[in-house]
């Protein structure tokens, strides 16, 4: 059987930006898959612990009998197993390195700084967290200018690796804007990224898996109350 004909499943949650990356990549390649929803706020299932024993996290891509973990690794795997157009990564090694660099930056620095805004205690901490986060956005706005070469996306005419790596965070970014009361993507500071965000969210491979902001905000509230121990304990 052709490798690319084996059954494909994604273990994940609707709210996770990392899971979104895997789903967008599969959508881009028109690969049918089964979405196995985990309810992580109720604890980690046996299925998850077996599929990703090292990190116990989503997403996990299940391809036939193979298990692939870590969202960016999954995206590269998808691009390599289904090499037909559209390509997710550029063919040029330098372009690939640039895309990987910014994706790593997003995961290691930028997304954690966004989460710090939500976890900040007191106005001073919140202001500092926002300032740090906005510095990152300025870098990303500049990177977008350099990467796009006048085209609509980081990937050029179509969404690519870095669009996926970055765009998956837009839902949570909007929730953070709502809860903090501050416009993080703005016409003043990030005019190009604001337009990019609209285009990304409208993309055929993205729109069905991008969570609704209100639903995500409700979910965030639920998780926050659970963390504070306000929900009744699970018996």
């Amino acid at each position: 059987m052709e490798k690319s004909d084996l059954k494909v499943k994604v273990l994940g949650t609707w709210s996770s930006p990392f899971v979104m990356r895997a789903r967008i990549a599969l959508n881009m390649k028109s690969v049918n898959y089964e979405f196995l929803q985990e309810r992580l706020w109720e604890g980690k299932s046996e299925r998850l612990l077996k599929s990703n024993p090292v990190h116990k996290k989503v997403p996990v891509l299940i391809h036939g009998d193979k298990l692939i973990c870590e969202s960016l690794i999954i995206v590269e795997y998808i691009d390599e197993v289904w090499p037909s157009a559209p390509s997710i990564l550029h063919s040029d090694p330098n372009e690939r390195a640039i895309a990987r660099f910014w994706a790593a930056y997003l995961d290691d620095k930028w997304f954690p700084s966004m989460r710090s805004i939500g976890f900040a205690r007191g106005e001073d901490e919140k202001k500092a967290a926002i300032a740090e986060f906005e510095k990152g956005l300025v870098l990303l706005e500049k990177a977008f200018g350099n990467c796009r070469k006048g085209k609509p996306f980081f990937g050029g005419d179509q969404i690519g690796y870095l669009d996926i790596a970055f765009g998956c965070f837009l839902g949570w970014l909007r929730v953070t804007e709502t809860t903090s009361g501050i416009k993080l993507l703005s016409e003043a500071k990030t005019p190009a990224l604001i337009n990019w965000a609209h285009r990304f969210c409208s993309d055929a491979a993205v729109k069905d898996v991008m969570p609704d902001t209100e639903k995500l905000a409700e979910f965030a509230k639920m998780i926050a109350s659970k963390r504070r121990g306000e929900a009744p304990p699970k018996s």
Binding site: E70, I74, N94
Partner: protein, 222 residues
């Protein structure tokens, strides 16, 4: 036009050394530029403004930063002696464990360096568990990459020189051949490879440097 390849790095950084190891294994001539991390050069700041860290590979004036990204760039640019496996699944597994080494094990080492008391004990416990996973991954193979040295061995070369030296300075005795016979057998094979030795670090010099750095790290973390 001949390729111009430079590596901005430091002799004591395992991240830096792994880039040089990859270049040597591929037979790519390069110029090593030793950076002073306490007094960063304008070149480094120009080539890696975001992180201001080593290593940076500069290929015909074009900078690439982040060691794992550099390794992939090297493999894609100079396609002789490929270091990454060919099959997508094998590549995904190699990348997974490379990530594990850097994001988990080396991060935990940092926690051990900065921590004390119960916190440090917990971090040491974490490292022993993480090393067990790595030991399991290596079982049944000559090298992490199979029959010969490859990408994951290059990434894991941190355990050949740097890691044992660091644990020695910290006075932690968890990384032994008794506990990790498979990893130690692999280390024995690695040190027989010329390129690996050329990218090693002189032990006493490294121990001295690390002792000094650890003091500085601890006082700046206070």
């Amino acid at each position: 036009m001949a390729d111009e390849v430079k590596v901005l790095g430091v002799w004591a950084s395992p991240y830096s050394r792994r880039v040089e190891l990859a270049l040597k294994l591929k037979g790519i001539p390069y110029e090593h530029i030793e950076e002073d991390l306490l007094n960063k050069s304008s070149t480094l700041l120009k080539y890696n403004p975001v992180h201001q860290k080593v290593p940076v590979l500069v290929h015909n004036g074009n900078p690439i930063a982040e060691s794992l990204i550099i390794l992939e760039y090297i493999d894609e640019t100079w396609t002789n002696n490929p270091v990454l496996p060919q099959a997508p699944y094998d590549r995904a597994i190699a990348r997974f464990w490379a990530n594990f080494i850097d994001e988990k094990i080396l991060n935990t080492v940092r926690k051990v360096c900065l921590g004390s008391g119960k916190e440090q004990e917990q971090a040491i416990e974490e490292i022993t568990e993480q090393l067990k996973l790595l030991e399991n991954e290596l079982k049944g193979k000559e090298y992490f990459s199979g029959h010969s040295i490859g990408y994951l061995d290059i990434v894991a070369s941190v355990f050949v020189f740097w890691f044992p030296n660091v644990l020695e300075v910290l006075g932690i005795d968890v990384f032994t051949a008794e506990k990790y016979p498979v990893i130690f057998e692999w280390i024995g094979k690695m040190v027989k490879i010329d390129a690996v030795n050329e990218c090693g670090m002189p032990k006493e010099k490294h121990l001295d440097l690390f002792r000094t750095r650890l003091e500085a790290l601890k006082s700046s973390a206070k």
